[in-house]
């Protein structure tokens, strides 16, 4: 499948920041050649004695990798399917593992080393597991890629900012971007360069135009050399970028010498196209290879030069509290990122390394893929359920968008359903039948991103869209539902005079079906009354 003759990464060291260049190699690196000697007595480090670690063993009950089914049953009501899920916790199938401080077998995981100071690169068993996983799943296009643990993608991105960006540098982002990623770059004097989007996320045409027309004097900064992107389950819009678009963008990045930072927490939540409930059929099971082949690939698959720094996390596939993830990148960046870890996070927490490593060693590769398959199905069911709720609460009309960040997508326009009433529709009610918001059902991730169309609101022209968005957001919050306010996802600062549309980001990942249903109903009711004032 993979050529053994993949070339190595090209020299990209000119992308290192001044801070990254100034980082010293750890003085302990010089001692490493002595470390392997049998019988060596090291009094060089500052290791506390493991006898005094007050924990004798740790244990965990792990769910079976096939705890969740591989198909949803479309003939059942969504609600009954969900409730079956919720009642399952009483009869969870689990296996127990234990890590002792001083285990019997030399190769076993043990607390005495797992809870000791460790190299920032982490436990060797974890490194092996990640290497196998990346090779099989993401298939990097060059030979000497490597992995390095971090404490979650936010940390990974933070270290990347320090490593490849200087103050005053531009950073290429999508016009709508995860605000925490922007908040991790802006304070360091990094300036955002937003690029237009379409139904697959960042537009390659818009990217090329921006770079080709770059004028340092009018822009006030050199042409950017770093891109931050969430290509799968783009946050907030939920788009999925396929192989062809990635190739186009990658080639532009080669041409303009740009490093791509691929933040990909939702890779395994590729839910696919939304199919209305009446047309939905049960998804057939696929073998592991087919399952992986059907997923949109990582940028790593087209990265023949080693210019992609990929961020993976266990936050969505195991749990956010694991604070564990990893970089996949070329060894030059990995070495500098490891130096950055040595003076910040150091190695990820020993408990989490032991838990996640035990989990993956217990499940094996096949078990983890089985878990990921089911996880995708679960979130797909949740996505479907939330969109179904919209279809019940609102009158939805579909049309293909030809412009803006939805260009090329099937957009659902939502208008209020006429209230059942003995009284005929008033002129006002007819106005409501115009679409009040629209959305593209997400093909990946955890969120539905809706665009508001409040042009008919009495205060639209006087308040501006941002203030109106917040006014509606507040009304909904007071009615008992919190949405994510849209303006905080804008890479371009939004003020009261900015023209445009309001947005909300609505999460379907962590609520009961009852809550989702109720939230959509409250949204409908609030919107109806909102348009009257």
């Amino acid at each position: 499948m993979l050529s053994e003759k993949r070339g190595d990464a090209i020299d990209l060291s000119h992308h290192l920041s001044n801070v990254a260049r100034a980082r010293q190699t750890s003085p302990l690196k010089g001692l490493q050649k002595w470390m392997g000697k049998p019988g060596l007595i090291s009094l060089a480090g500052g290791l506390p004695n493991a006898q005094y670690f007050p924990i004798a063993s740790i244990s965990g009950e792990l769910l079976a990798p096939d705890s969740f089914p591989l198909k949803t049953e479309p003939e059942e009501s969504s609600l009954s399917w969900f409730w079956k899920l919720f009642s399952r916790s009483d009869k969870e199938r689990t296996t127990t593992f234990t890590v002792d401080k001083y285990p019997k077998h030399p190769g076993d995981l043990n607390l005495a080393t797992g809870l000791q100071y460790g190299m920032a690169s982490g436990l060797p068993q974890m490194k092996e597991i990640l290497h196998e996983f990346v090779e099989k799943v993401f298939q990097p296009a060059y030979g000497n890629w490597t992995t390095l643990l971090h404490t979650g993608n936010t940390d990974g991105w933070g270290k990347t900012v320090q490593t490849i960006l200087n103050p005053g540098d531009g950073l290429i982002v999508s016009e709508w971007t995860y605000p925490s990623a922007l908040a991790g770059a802006r304070p360091y004097g990094i300036k955002l360069v937003p690029i237009g989007m379409d139904a697959e996320g960042m537009s390659s045409a818009a990217l090329r135009k921006t770079l080709a027309e770059w004028d340092e004097s009018t822009r006030g900064m050199p042409r950017p050399h770093v891109m931050y992107t969430v290509p799968i389950g783009q946050n907030p819009t939920g788009t999925t970028m396929g192989l062809d678009r990635k190739k186009e963008i990658y080639d532009i990045c080669v041409e303009y010498d740009i490093i791509i930072v691929e933040d990909d927490p939702y890779y395994f939540l590729q839910e696919g196209k939304y199919v209305p409930k009446s047309e939905r059929v049960s998804e057939s099971d696929a073998d592991d290879e087919t399952f992986l082949a059907r997923l949109a690939p990582s940028y790593l698959k087209v990265d023949y030069q080693g210019r992609v720094i990929r961020l993976d996390t266990f936050s969505k596939t195991v749990c956010p509290g694991s604070r564990l993830g990893w970089f996949t990148c070329n060894p030059m960046f990995a070495e500098r990122l490891e130096r950055a870890a040595e003076t910040s996070s150091q190695a990820p927490c020993g408990f989490t390394q032991l838990y996640v490593t035990s989990l993956l060693m217990n499940w094996h590769y096949d078990g983890y893929i089985r878990w990921l398959k089911a996880l995708r199905i679960q979130y797909k069911g949740r996505r479907d359920y939330l969109v179904d709720c919209f279809a019940e609460e609102f009158h939805l009309q579909q049309s293909i968008s030809t412009q803006g960040y939805t260009a090329g997508a099937q957009v659902y326009y939502a208008s209020l359903k006429p209230k059942r009433s003995f009284i005929p529709l008033s002129e006002k009610d007819v106005a409501y039948s115009k679409p009040l918001f629209s959305f593209v059902p997400p093909s990946s991730g955890m969120f539905v991103w809706i665009e508001l169309h409040l042009e008919d609101h009495p205060s639209f022209s006087s308040l501006g869209y941002k203030a109106l968005e917040m006014k509606l957001w507040t009304d909904i919050a007071e009615a008992g539902v919190l949405f994510g306010p849209g303006s905080m996802f804008s890479a371009t600062p939004v003020d009261d005079d900015t023209p445009g549309h309001g947005h909300f980001r609505i999460s379907f990942s962590n609520s009961t079906p009852e809550e989702l249903k109720k939230a959509v109903t409250i949204f409908g009711t609030t919107l109806r009354s909102f348009m009257k004032h």
Copy 2:
């Protein structure tokens, strides 16, 4: 004991770095006022569903807080005492705790929230525990201090650098300083301002002189406004700074408006003065209040203005793999440090928070103090044992130092013992009887810091001390023992022509008595042969 009328911190916001000032308050902060409402449905965040966390419960076997004795038995040989310790692991007294994903009682710790995304400030139970601990143990001198979790003191220091230092700023450090702390500041363009030391660590007279005579034009930087210090178990020298010195330095820092970053991992490893084996008596047990009162206090105890950022860690008292510690500082710094966490580490790992919180809830305050008392005794026994080994291997002579970083301390000068031989001592052997190294037995921490006196070595004048230090270091390493090379602890860059003395830092924290004994013997043998070549 503590006045209820302590004042609040003064305004120190002018110390914030440009990066810290530019950090946005999290957009989610604005949503917090809505969060408490009963029945609220939040679809705003990006929380994965806790059902899909593949861990049903975590457990741990915790050692009893009185697992280790409170006194060493001086009449026993050190070796037999140590071996008793090592065999204890077979009969460890433990209690087991379990944290379930969905526990029965609402107030219990639970995995569903512990492993979910959480506020960077951490679990509320942990925050309560830390508040009680800091109040009772460190007794801050102002009223509105607060705590904030970090992922170990290296991380805490890294975030502090970002928060209160700009590129080009000076940083006050001791002339000998933990190299990793320097490596965390230097790449950001921070310039070190080393201050001379004496037997209590940083010299207040030297500090005052440096600041009073500060000349921006010759120094090439404004007068520094931040100090990094390890006042207990100063790393590498092992000194302990008492209350009076801390008051002197604090007052100077008030006068010159300097923020003190107190990195204090060895606070509970205050071993006290070394007493030679023949004069040693068993230490009497003390009640908790007396135990705490006998420890040199934290800078917090004199900090009436809120200008101390204290870094505590569980690395030495629980385990390094916990990657857990906390800031104690004024709320203004804490708020900016929390913003820094939101775009880097986020909250510390959920596993570690659950383990350490469970441990402390299980032990209670009294149990933890009991554990810390014994921990101190254990490391004291190790310190004594290593120095005893030196006393057996070498001929030691004591004298009070009057200058340099040992000024005021009882220094042990070590010379080689004459080899037992039928042949009378040669002229060369007599030369060896001159001291070849000296040390002050550490009063805190994990290390013995020795200074080399290699003036009689044939290559002393041609090589310089740094090269000779590395030559001896290499000989010792080849003989099977690793010491910490001293020159890496110098805050002033050392090159081949720098005059001075070589040093080694020798850890007694993590080796068996056999290894310590063997290491000192190898050091003696190597030194003997080293001086001949």
